[in-house]
Amino acid sequence: MTTTIERRQEYRNLFKNNVEKRLMVDKTVRIIVFACVIIAIIPLGSILVEVFKNGIAAISYEFLTETPGAIGSGEGGIGPAIQGTLIIIGLSSLIGVPIGVMSGIYLSEYGDNKLARSIRFFNDVFMEFPSIVLGIFAFLVIVLILGHFSVWAGAFALSLIMFPIVARTTEESLKMVPMTYREAGTALGLKKWVITFRIVISAAKNGMITGILLSVSRIGGETAPLIMTILGSSQFFSSMDVPMDALPLRIWRLSLLPYDSAQLQGWGSALVLIMIILAINLGVRYFFANRSKKRGLLAQLIKKGMHTKN
């Protein structure tokens, strides 16, 4: 030992000298970070509060079920819009989710080659596309060709927005499943697709669901693509080949009208939209959280929202 006891004591004193300052810096940083969080939450919180405050007055059975009345009359409701939103979300998911999940599986499990790398790159680029561009694309490809606005076009446009998100999150969730589970499956003599679908996906379930719900929430509020594809209407859904209403469209139209009653209905619609998205989120999590009865349901719902590594 070449370091003497005295020298060691000197080293110790070095640390003592800095303590005050470092504690201060630590505290300051903590305060700043916390402040940023507050600043971020305040607008979000106030939006929710505003929407609730302004929209709650509009809610009634009539409001939720009837077709819109004459413009500016304050009568009628947003029944078709609610129905339309649910339909368009459902249809888009039906198209976008399976394609997205399959792409995610391909990229994660079979994608260690050049082709997969290009696909991944284009996927990421695609995710960043402004939704209005995708709306125009759907307009050109379907609306113009067929000659009319339709639900098909809307579902097509929204699924284009959906599937890159689903693909990416699925891939990430699958990648987080440790390799050792796949190896265990291989050692048991299982075929690759069995391992992927029965073991890996099962372990990646939570992350995948989060990704899907994220994309659903995203498309639930998309307006621009809908303008150019389903156009909007005052009637309930009749067929796939005609325009349809949806909440974002209705909100937009109502908010442009100068009448107070229209404004009120607009707030009400916004509230309804937020509630629907929230309900979908909670409902799906509830369904998948119900498995283990151990901890409190709320804790589970929140926990499942995080990317938990099993």
């Binding site: 440790p178 499956g185 048991l188 372990a203």
Partner: protein, 267 residues
């Protein structure tokens, strides 16, 4: 490095059957050889330990015995691995079929996290199409008994596998591997992630299992090799340096390198 392989000539090992023979196995990654031209014979119903410093190739070699390297990109395996006179690496052989003849237990216990104890044990069976409930129940009980886990979990087979302790999880993995009725069991440092009591249980399990199975175990714990194995192979930098009866290798190693390694003079 030119090394002589020190091993007893075949005639002095008694004439019991060899369950598995690895002949001239060479494994390379991206052109670099990790395992160099190794030949090893494994007697039926015996335990063979593979020891050696980190990076000597023992795990790489172990994994080629059930064709795990098929999953690895850029891995090339030359040579033969024969079970009962059938070469696993022969083109006509279906690797998946033969992987069921050779079970594997990994270093870190890896029971499937979203499945129950019961489902874990039957995973290799159900996912391969075995449906008969009665047979599955029988096999579950049999496998868990052989892994010395039955008494601890028999009352709650539907419990999630990840709620078990580390040692129990590893025994569950052993049961899962045994459920597909293999003939050879490969174990890659099965107790290294476990506490001493759990390790002891695993070693007891291995000692019981060798009455029916041929077991090959990679271990970095030399005392474990002495306790548990009948034969030991010492590997260094991809070569097989010495392969003999365990007691002889540890009391009177013929090769200087072996003597240095087991006495802790390097690695």
């Amino acid at each position: 490095m030119e090394t002589q392989i020190s091993s007893d000539p075949p005639s002095t090992i008694d004439s019991e059957k060899y369950k598995m023979i690895a002949e001239n196995v060479t494994i390379s990654y991206d052109g670099i050889e990790a395992v160099k031209d190794i030949t090893m014979k494994f007697k039926e119903k015996s335990v063979t330990a593979l020891i050696g410093p980190s990076g000597c190739g023992k795990t790489t070699f172990l994994r080629c015995l059930n064709r795990m390297h098929d999953m690895t990109k850029n891995a090339k395996v030359d040579g033969k691995v024969m079970i009962d006179d059938i070469d696993l690496y022969d083109k006509s052989v279906d690797p998946i079929y033969h992987r069921r003849k050779v079970g594997m237990v990994f270093q870190k216990p890896n029971p499937f996290p979203t499945m129950s104890i019961y489902d874990n044990v039957t995973a290799g069976l159900k996912l391969n199409g075995v449906r008969d409930k009665k047979i599955l129940n029988e096999i579950v009980e049999d496998s868990l008994k052989m892994a010395y886990l039955w008494d601890e979990v028999k009352n709650d087979l539907k419990k999630s596998a990840i709620e078990l302790s580390g040692g129990q999880q590893q025994r569950l993995c052993i049961a899962r591997a045994l459920a597909i009725q293999p003939e050879v069991l490969l174990m890659d440092e099965p107790a290294s992630a476990l506490d001493p009591i759990a390790t002891q249980k695993i070693e007891e399990t291995i000692t019981e299992l060798k009455k029916e199975y041929t077991i090959i175990i990679v271990t970095h714990n030399m005392q474990q090799a002495v306790r548990v194995s009948d034969y030991t192979g010492f590997m260094y930098l991809g070569d097989l340096i010495e392969f003999r009866e365990t007691k002889k290798l540890f009391t009177d190693p013929k090769n200087d390198l072996t003597a240095k390694y087991v006495q802790g003079q390097f690695g």
